[in-house]
Amino acid sequence: MKGLAPLFLGIFGTFAFSWVGLTVIPNWQIGHLNPQSDEEGTDIYPMPQSGMVTRGARVYAANGCNYCHSQQVRAEYSGADIERKWGDRRSAPRDYIFERPALLGKMRMGQDLANIGARAPKEEESPSPAGGPSSAPQAAAASPGTVASAKAASPPQATSPSPPTAPATSPGAIASKPPTSPGPAGPPPSKSPAAAAAGGTSPAAAASPPSAGPPWPEQTAGLPPMYSAAWHHVHLYSPRSINLDSNMPSYRFLYQTRRISDARSSDALQLTGSDAPPEGWEIVPTYDAKCLVAYMMALNQSHPLKDVRSPGASAASSPATSPSPAPGGQPAK
């Protein structure tokens, strides 16, 4: 090749083509979305987040949570995300307009977290801290003979027997098997260490979140209701106290062990077994840990979007759902 000018022009030209095509034009297309609202200008979604949530996003990024957890729900035709109850509908660009950084993630060594906040129990329904007397009736309901009815009440939370085809290998492998084939023929339900310590299982039907949770992990007795803030703290502090098969590292450096001064702090983690602090001590979250949990509790894409058709069930609950996508940046086909 002779002559420098064509070489330089070509090098710049090809790159400019890619830069304009894959960043500038998309920015022009979907880079300036506004929150949606109904005709009266109420019911605005999404909303800007509080300072704690914003800081929590940075804690999430700083500790690399996004290397194992994605935050994007694919449409029902392109993956099992919705069947796994990771969301009621696919994610859309409008869901993320206040996210900075937008941590969509590319790996699922852990669950998708796009709707982890939506799976939290409703405030008023939260039962008292676990291990209380309320768990006794449910313990009976979880015996093999009545599993089917327990499952009907709250499928994912029920501590179900393992399917006969895949018997639990470890005595503590409570959460590894899905409640696919509950039945009297199954082996007796195995228990997590916490459940064993508490002497019973607690499906806690009252704590069932509105959009039913995934089959994993399962509610463990002696612990706060699943996906509540207190549960997240225990899970971050000691993932394997909740689920023996968990592959998540613990984040104990986000927590402080301190001596109880006069009364036990209301923030103190409800830990059992070997994780529990010695007598007279308590484990409390640092501010970063609180922000991180606040961020996770705010991850919620359950609000219907006009851009996106919600499959199945949610259509009934959202009259705003429209099959015709809104102009400007609809990802739907």
């Binding site: 660009p93 060594m109 592959n247």
Partner: protein, 493 residues
């Protein structure tokens, strides 16, 4: 043609004209000595650090409680440090070292303004060091390959500006009209990188784009870094080393031209295929998938060109370390691209998109292709800078086989593991935890491959250290992997 009749070093030069040329070349090599060795030495140091981190990260992934209570040793911080040390510390610095040497040689002029390069290397090291500390202390930005906090990124950019302005200056002093293929790639890489890096930084941190577009810009950056920076340097180096070692011109300039421009055009449009069915306008993903498939054009032309150049000379891989590493890298480029096409197809991506398979893809590009080509070039260049030959052929062999088996095992483990993980994940009747558990045996296998790679890198660093301290062989005959005399060959040099 059999191996015995082939010259193993430079093409035989006869008359006095050849002597002048050889003398000039030695002068040019000598002028590049200090800057290139600074880049290489830093790169090897980062390589060793990155390797140790890689082993740590790999073991932690299937042993989550290993040292997890210390904030700066948590998996989510050590992993980005490993990636960034490898990308910016090892691969970029070694690639720049090779590119600098090639630029001087191909411009046929002694290296001018070495201080620009020395300062560039210094600032680059400082930038990587600060970035690593920043991530460990919890300042990571969370975007793949852009995790370095802004105070480190700005230093890297300054360092890069010094190196790139040197490259442009050198180009002005070149002698001769013809611009060789390698120079197209190198010049392109030197110009693409700053635009890419600046665009990524500006659109993510200075004037951040909205929402999902941040993720799109992030993946556009990461993929283009792989193709337009590392890929371009790697291909350019292979275009120099293969013809040089076997002493034969490139098979076809026309093919090379097609290969270069189609590479520039198509590979720069990839990136979004890694977000198949994410919350983006579908045309973006489709465009990237199409571009990924179209990269088969440069793959075919480049591969064919190298193959036809090598035709009849493949037995030389038995002797020349440079050739063996470079040809392995060039072949891996084909494999890398084929795997890239395969995992970007929607029907396959559905299963492997969120799994370890994408890690396999990155390692194929950065290691099996780029790093192997750069190893090859270092085996060629370092003796010419130091005036000694590599001390042990056996160590080079060990390095090659440990690297080749290591990266081969890693790729297989991650691809197979990713597929297993993905099919489990796509089957909603299986608990999610089963998809995670099903990949753990493969991750242990990957850790095994990490041990092989660690061995190979330590062997290489030791050998490189011997060279650096002047403990290489004093000889005019390069170090061969197998004794040439035993085959009854006449070595021409």
């Amino acid at each position: 043609m059999n191996a015995t009749g082939i010259p193993l070093k430079e093409p035989a030069i006869s008359a006095a004209a050849g002597d002048t040329e050889q003398f000039e070349r030695a002068l040019i090599d000598a002028s590049t000595r200090v800057p290139v060795l600074i880049f290489y030495t830093s790169a090897v140091a980062w390589l060793i650090l990155g390797t140790l981190l890689a082993g740590f990260v790999s073991f932690k992934l299937h042993t989550p409680d290993l040292l997890s209570d210390i904030s700066f040793l948590t998996w989510g911080r050590v992993r980005p440090v490993h990636m960034n040390v490898m990308v910016y510390g090892w691969a970029s610095m070694a690639g720049m070292g090779t590119a600098i040497w090639l630029m001087a040689r191909l411009c046929r002029t002694v290296l001018r303004y070495p201080l620009l390069l020395v300062a560039g290397a210094g600032f680059w090291n400082l930038g990587v060091f600060l970035g690593v500390c920043g991530i460990l202390l919890g300042d990571s930005t969370g975007y793949q390959w852009l995790e370095f906090p802004s105070y480190a990124a700005i230093i890297l950019f300054v360092a890069y500006t010094l190196v790139a302005s040197w490259a442009v200056l050198m180009f002005r002093f070149r002698r001769g009209e013809q611009i060789y293929i390698t120079q197209w790639y190198l010049l392109a890489a030197f110009l693409w990188f700053p635009w890419l890096y600046a665009a990524g930084q500006l659109m993510l941190f200075v004037v951040p784009v909205q929402g999902v577009l941040q993720a799109a810009v992030g993946w556009w950056y990461a993929n283009n870094l792989l193709f337009l920076w590392f890929g371009a340097i790697g291909l350019g180096t292979a275009y120099y080393m293969i013809p040089k070692v076997i002493g034969r011109p490139v098979y076809s300039y026309h093919l090379a031209t097609i290969g270069f421009w189609s590479y520039a055009l198509f590979s720069s449009w990839t990136g979004m295929q890694r977000l198949v069915d994410g919350p983006f306008p579908a045309w973006m993903v489709t465009a990237s998938i199409a571009a990924t498939i179209l990269t088969l054009i440069p793959v075919a032309t480049v591969g064919l060109n190298h193959h036809m150049t090598m035709q009849g000379y493949f037995p030389l891989m038995r002797y020349s370390p440079t050739l063996r590493f470079t040809v392995f890298g060039a072949m891996s480029y084909t494999v890398f691209s084929l795997v890239g096409v395969l995992i970007s197809l929607r029907s396959v991506a559905r299963y492997v998109n969120f799994t370890q398979a994408s890690i396999a893809y990155s390692h194929l590009g950065l290691y099996a292709f780029f790093t192997m080509v750069i190893f090859g070039s270092m085996y060629y260049i370092v003796p010419r800078l130091i005036g000694r030959e590599w001390r042990y052929g056996s160590l080079i062999k060990l390095h090659f086989w440990a690297s080749a088996y290591g990266i081969g095992l890693m790729t297989l483990m991650l691809l197979a593991g990713g597929l297993t993980q993905g099919t489990g994940m796509e089957n909603p009747s299986l608990a999610f935890s089963e998809s995670v558990e099903s990949v753990l045996p493969y991750l242990r296998g990957r850790s095994l491959s990490g041990i092989l790679l660690t061995v190979s890198h330590f062997v290489f660093a030791y050998h490189f250290g011997l060279m650096l301290f002047g403990l290489g062989r004093k000889s005019t005959v390069p170090t061969f992997l197998n004794p040439v005399e035993a085959e009854g060959a006449e070595v021409a040099h």
